[in-house]
Symmetry: D2
C-alpha cells in the first residue's frame, strides 16, 4: 500500500488538517515527538515574530487508539493560535456587515499572490496567500514526523543541516551521520560548522537591517535505508524523482540535487561513480564512495540518501519590491505581510520530515503488510535473502 | 483530464511501446515531426556507435485516424532495429536449448545493475539493465513529441540547449528564446556558445581517449505558457515540483533547478524576486526579470519556464570501475556494455520533449475539454478574462 | 481537475474528518443545507436510538471564506456527540491504568469484525468495527452535500427513494422526478408509494420484535445531467462503473444496477434500447425511453441517471448469530453493539449525496476551470455547441 | 505495488495494445494459456461471423524473457486480423485522396455512438464506435489471463458460467466450484444446467430469426482467496467495490451483485448473514454459508468470491431501432454494423479474466514483494500467522 495524504488549512484560518491513509496498524506513536518536530520547524535564527506566538501542537482525532495506530486513516489537527485575532477576516461562514481591513491588492513578487489570484479569480489576494503560505508545512511536518516514527522501527534514521545561507557556505567534507545529527541541533541556523554558523547569522542580521532577506541550501541525510526501494521500471516509480518532487514542493525551493548533484557536470565518470565491493562481515554489497547519494536507477543502493534543496530568499521584504495595484494597474510597492528574514533552517526541518513520507511509502510498497509486525516480518525475510544472495550460479 | 502514460520495452527486446491516455480528439499529428525528435535524441557529439544503427521511427497503432487524434488512447511502437542480433537472448518466450552468452555478473557502478538485481532477484543483471537503459527514453520522447504538437496549438514553444559539459560552461547571460532555439540546432553538442561548443567537444574527445566519460547540464525553456497552470493548493499539484520530478526521472540526472536555482542561495531577496508591472499594450501583468524561471507558488507566472538538469557522466566506462562478481564476491572490473562517452545533448532533447507531457497535462487540467476545438475555446475565454481583469474593486 | 477526498474517523472517536481536494473557487456554500442532508441521513423508520443522540452538524475549517470556496482544500469536521462517554475507551493517546470494558471478542457475521481483525492483527475487534461502521458515511455525506451545491449551479438535481424493504416493493412505474423528490420526503421510509410505505414499516416492526433486521433497495435519480460526462475510451473512465463502485462502497450494499439493470436479462434488445429522436424545440437529441438509465458506453446520454443499490439487512442482530470466541475458538453468540433494524432510507440518502461527488468530479474533468465562473463559462460554451451540432456534413 | 494497466486500440485498426505495470519478476508465463482465454472469449453460441475471422493470439513484446516476467512493464499486442480490409479506412496516417465509405451518421441506440460523437465532436460516429466496441476486451482478457497465471501460484482458481439468457435461468443451487468449472466448458452457452442450456440456445435462435438480440447474467467464482484482501478503512480500498466497478466497465453490463445480491432485500438478517465457526483441522475461521459472496466490510472473508453481472442485449440489431440522421435530424433507422445476437458467454469469460487483475493487484498490495518468490514468502508467513492467531488474550 502506498501512503497517501492531503493537507488543508489557511494560514490564519481556524487550523490545519491532514489525513494520512495507508499506515499499518500497531505502530506506536509518540505525540510529544511529533510536537518536537513542530517546535524544531518553528525555530531557527531569522524567523519572524509569528513563530513566538504559535508553539504548534498536534491533535490526533482518528486512526490511533491508546498510542498505537489502528490501520485506519489518521486525522491530524493543528490549531492556528492566532486565529482569534483573525476570526472575522477568515471566517468560513459569512459574517454579517463585515468589511475586510486586510485585503491584499498589491501582489508580492516571489509569492503566489498574482498568478494564484488570476487563476482562481480572486481580487483580494489574501484568498491565495493564506493557502500558499509555508504555514501549510506545519501539518505536513506532523504527517512526516509520524512517518518517521514508523520508519524508525526499520532502523532508518534521518537528519538535516544547513550548508549555505546568503552565500556563506560550510567547508567541504562531511563528518559522520551521527555527528551531523548532533551538531545541527546546537546551531541556531542548523549549521555544523561553527565558524560558518556565525557568519550566516551575521548575514541574516545584515539583511534584516536592510529590510531584505536571504536564502540558502539545506541537506537531508537518511541512514539505514534498505537496498531496493523505488524502481527503475517506470518513470513514475523512481524514488529519487519522487523525493526530488517532494523537496521542490516545499514553499520557496527552486532546486534539488542528489549526492554529488550539479558537481557531477564537472568531473570525469571515473571520479563520479561509486566502486562496488563486498563487505563479508556484514554480508552486504557496499560502495567505496557515495557520490550517487544513495540512488542508482531510481532505486536505493543501501548507502545513505543525501539530498539537497535550495530555498530562495523570503519573498516578503520589509523594503518591498515593485508591484502593481491590481485594479488601477499603477505601479506601487508590494504589500507587506509579517514574515521572516531567513527560513532555511526551518526548510531543512520540513524537508527532513516530509521526505520520511516518501521513504515510509516506499517501504510499504516494497514489503506490503497491514500490521507493523507483518511489515517487519516481510522486511526481515528480505534482509535475510539479501545477506545470502547470490548463492551460486543459477538463473 | 490529466494525461497518463506508460512506457514498456527492453533495450534489446523487440521494441518499445507506450500508451498515452487523455489526449483530446482532433489534434493533428505529424509523424515525421515525431521522428525528427527521435533523430535529434540520437544525435550529439559523444554518442556511441549504436546510435548509427538505430534511426528510430515510431508507428502509431491506435487513437489516431487519418492524421488526427480520436480522443482514444494512443499506442506508440518503436522497433529495436538491432533486436535481430539479440532475438534469442531477449526472446519473450523460452528458446529450447538456449544458453545465454551475454549474462552480466559484474555490476556496473552508476547503473541500476546491482540494486535492481537484488530487488528483483535477478542473477543475470541483464534482466535489469535492459529496462533501466536510457533506450527507454526513445518512446518517452515520442510521447512528448506528440504532446508538443498539442501544446503548439496554444502557441507554446519549447527549446533546449547544453550549458555545461565536463566542466566547460557557456558564458553568462542568455539571448532570446528564438536565438537559443536556432543556435542549439547548429552545434554538435547543442551549445549556443561557439567557443564553449568547441571546448566541450575537446573534453569529450579527451574523455574518450582515456576510456572515461563526462556529464553536463542542460536547460529547457518554454515560451508562450499561460499564467496559472499548476496550483498552490496541494503539494502534489505544484507544476514546478511535477516538472522537477520529470527531469529527475531521466536516466543519470542527479539534480534539477528552476530559474535562478541554486544561485538564489547567494543573493539577497531584493536581487532575486521579479518586480511586477503592467504591460498596457498587451493587457498583461509582466515581470522585470525572470529569476523565478516562470513559477511562483507552484503555478506558472506567464513568463518563460526555465528548468535545468544535471546529468552525471555515463556510467559504463571503457576503462571499467571496481566491481564484484556477484557469485564469488571477488573484486573484479565491471562489465562493459556498448555505450556513449557523453549523452548530455541527448538528455537535453529528452527533457525538452518529456516536459511537454507535463505542460500538456496541465493545460488539459486547467481548461478541460474533449476535442481540440473545445480546449482551445475554453483557453480563449480564459485569455480574454485575463486581459480584462481585475475590472474594478469587487470581492 | 478530478475531485479527490479522504475521510477519517472512528465511530466513537472524537469525530469524523474529511478533506476534499479540487473544488473550484467562488462556489457559494450553505452550511445549513449540508446539515440538512446529515439530518436526513439520521432519519428513517427503523433506526436505533443512537440517531437521537447525534444530530450531526458539520464544521468547515478550511477552504471556505465568508461562505464561498477559495479553491483550496476543504476540511470538514463532525464531532461525535457521544464520544464523551467513550473518551477513555477511544482515546488516541495512552490512558494510564486503563482497562477496556468494551472489547469485542465475538465477531459479528456480516460485519468486518473477523476478517478486519485478522488482516490488521487486532484481537479486540473494536479496533476494526469502529472504522468499518456506517458512521463513516456521515462525513462522506457532508462531502457529497457540498458537491451537490456545486452541481446545482449547473441545474443538476438529485433525489433518492426506497423501492423495496424486506420483500415489500413499490408498484411498477415511476412518476416524474419532481414528484418522486416530493413524495420521498413525506414517507418515514422514503417510499413514494403510500401503501407500500405502510407495509414496509410493518415489516420493520415485525423484524424488530423478532430481534431481527431487514434490508432493501434504494434508487437514486439525477436530472439535468449534461451529455458526455465520463468516457468510453478507457475502462477506468467509464462513469457508470465509477458510480457503481461508489454505491458498492456504501456499508452493507451488495448489488448495484443502472437503468433497467438485471431485468435486461429477460427482454429482447428491441425492448431494451432507447430510440433516438431530435427535439427541435430544445435543440437536443433525446430518447423515447430511458432503459439505459442515462448511460451508454460509460458516458451520460443527457437523460436522467437512474441507479439502484441493494442493502443487506443490518448485521448486528439483537438475537445474535452464531460466532466464535476468537481466543478459545469455542462457538458462541456474536457480540451485540447498539444498532438499527433497517437503514435502507439512510442508505438512500447516503447514496444520493456521495454520488454527487462523482458527478461533480466528472463535470470538472469535462469542463476544467478553477473558479465557478470559469467552469460555468466552459459549460455554457459546450451547451451552445451541443445545440448547434452537427451543422453540416464535415469531417 | 498496485497493478496498473492501460489498453489501446480500435476495433478495425491495426491491433490492440496493453501495458501492464507492477507484475513482479520470475512469474512463469504460458502464452498458449493466454491464447486459450482469448479463444474462449471468441466462442459462445450467438456470436456473429467476425469471431470466425479472428482467432486472436497475443504477442508479448516486453517485460518477459524466456517465459518469465522480468518485473518490468509487460506490453501485449493482438493484431486485428481483418485490419487489411480496413487499412485505408482506419489508417492512422492520412491517405491521399481517400473518401470513407463506412461513415456512420445514424447512431445506434444502446451504443456509445451518439453521446460519444457529441462529446468528442465526431461527425463520423465510427470514430467513437471503433474504440467503444467490445473488441477492446480481447486485450483486457489477455492482461487478465496473465494475472490469472500469477494468482494461480497462490492456489487461487477462477471460473465463470452463465446463469440466465433472455429470461431463461438455471435452477437454484450451485454445485461445487470444480463441477461448475468443468460443466461450463461443455455448454455452448457456458451454462451448467443442460436443460436450461438448450432453452437458452433456442432463445438465441429465435432472437436471431427476429433480427433481435438477447442479454443475460453471468457469474464469476474465485476459490482459494486469502482472508483480508481489500480494506474497510477507506471507500476506495474496498475490494468488492473495486470488483463491482470492473464488472460494470465491461461493455453492455448494467448491473452487478455479490453473493446473495439483490435477493438480500427480501430476507431477514438472520437468513442472510453467514454464521462463523472454527475449522480446527485446517486451523481456519469458516462460514456456515456464503451469502456474503466472500466479502464483509470490503475485505475478503476467505470464502469463495461470487460476483454476478447482467449484460443487456446486444445493441446492434439487424432490425434496427429508431434513430436520427445527425445532420438532417430526420428520423431514420440506426446504422447496422456486423454483430452478435448474444454475447453473454463471452462476457462471462471477459469478467472471469479481468477480475483476476483486481485479485492480483490486491494480493500484491497486501503482500508486497518484487519477485514471485518474495511475494510467496510473505504470503506464506501470513498464512502461518492466520493459522495460529489469536493465540491468547493480548492486546
Amino acid at each position: 500500500m502506498t501512503l497517501r495524504y492531503f493537507t488543508a488549512g489557511e494560514s490564519h484560518g481556524p487550523g490545519l488538517t491532514a489525513i494520512l491513509e495507508g499506515m499499518p496498524s500497531h505502530v506506536p506513536l509518540n505525540l510529544s515527538q511529533i510536537n518536537q518536530q513542530l517546535a524544531r520547524r518553528q525555530q531557527g535564527y531569522g524567523r519572524g515574530d509569528r513563530m513566538k506566538i504559535e508553539s504548534d501542537s498536534v491533535r490526533i482525532t482518528s486512526g490511533v487508539r491508546h498510542g498505537k495506530t489502528l490501520g485506519s486513516p489518521i486525522a491530524l489537527w493543528i490549531e492556528n493560535k492566532d486565529h482569534a485575532a483573525w476570526a472575522d477576516e477568515m471566517s468560513p461562514v459569512a459574517v454579517r456587515g463585515f468589511q475586510s481591513k486586510r485585503c491584499i491588492f498589491y501582489p508580492r513578487p516571489g509569492h503566489a499572490d498574482l498568478n494564484g489570484g488570476l487563476k482562481y479569480d480572486h481580487t483580494d489576494l489574501r484568498n491565495v496567500l493564506e493557502r500558499a503560505s509555508a504555514r501549510e508545512t506545519a501539518v505536513r511536518v506532523a504527517v512526516g514526523a509520524l512517518c518517521l516514527q514508523f520508519i524508525s522501527t526499520f532502523n532508518v534514521s534521518v537528519t538535516a543541516h544547513v550548508i549555505q545561507i546568503g552565500g556563506v557556505g560550510i567547508s567541504k567534507g562531511r563528518p559522520d551521520f551521527s555527528v551531523i545529527n548532533q551538531k545541527q541541533q546546537k546551531s541556531p541556523v542548523r549549521c555544523i560548522d561553527d565558524a560558518a554558523s556565525k557568519k550566516m547569522m551575521a548575514v541574516i542580521d545584515k539583511a534584516k537591517k536592510a529590510g531584505d532577506s536571504v536564502g540558502g541550501i539545506f541537506e537531508v541525510i537518511f541512514s539505514g535505508i534498505p537496498t531496493g526501494l523505488g524502481s527503475h521500471v517506470q518513470a513514475d516509480r523512481k524514488l529519487d524523482a519522487i523525493m526530488a518532487r517532494t523537496v521542490m514542493s516545499i514553499q520557496a525551493v527552486k532546486g534539488v540535487e542528489i549526492g554529488m548533484g550539479f558537481l557531477a557536470a564537472e568531473l570525469l565518470g571515473s571520479k563520479v561513480h561509486d566502486g562496488i565491493y563486498y563487505d563479508r562481515k556484514n554480508k552486504k554489497f557496499r560502495r567505496r564512495t557515495n557520490n550517487a547519494g544513495g540512488f542508482e536507477g531510481g532505486m536505493t543502493t543501501g548507502e545513505n540518501i543525501v539530498i539537497r534543496g535550495v530555498m530562495k530568499p523570503i519573498s516578503t521584504l520589509l523594503k518591498p519590491l515593485e508591484s502593481v495595484d491590481v485594479h488601477t494597474k499603477k505601479t506601487c510597492r508590494a504589500s507587506v505581510e509579517r514574515s521572516d528574514i531567513c527560513a532555511v533552517p526551518a526548510a531543512a526541518v520540513v524537508a527532513e520530515n516530509i521526505l520520511c513520507i516518501d521513504v515510509a511509502s516506499a517501504i510499504l510498497e516494497k514489503f506490503g503488510g497491514d500490521s507493523l509486525k507483518e511489515v517487519l516480518k516481510n522486511y526481515g525475510a528480505y534482509c535475510k535473502y539479501l545477506s545470502t544472495c547470490y548463492p551460486a550460479r543459477h538463473k
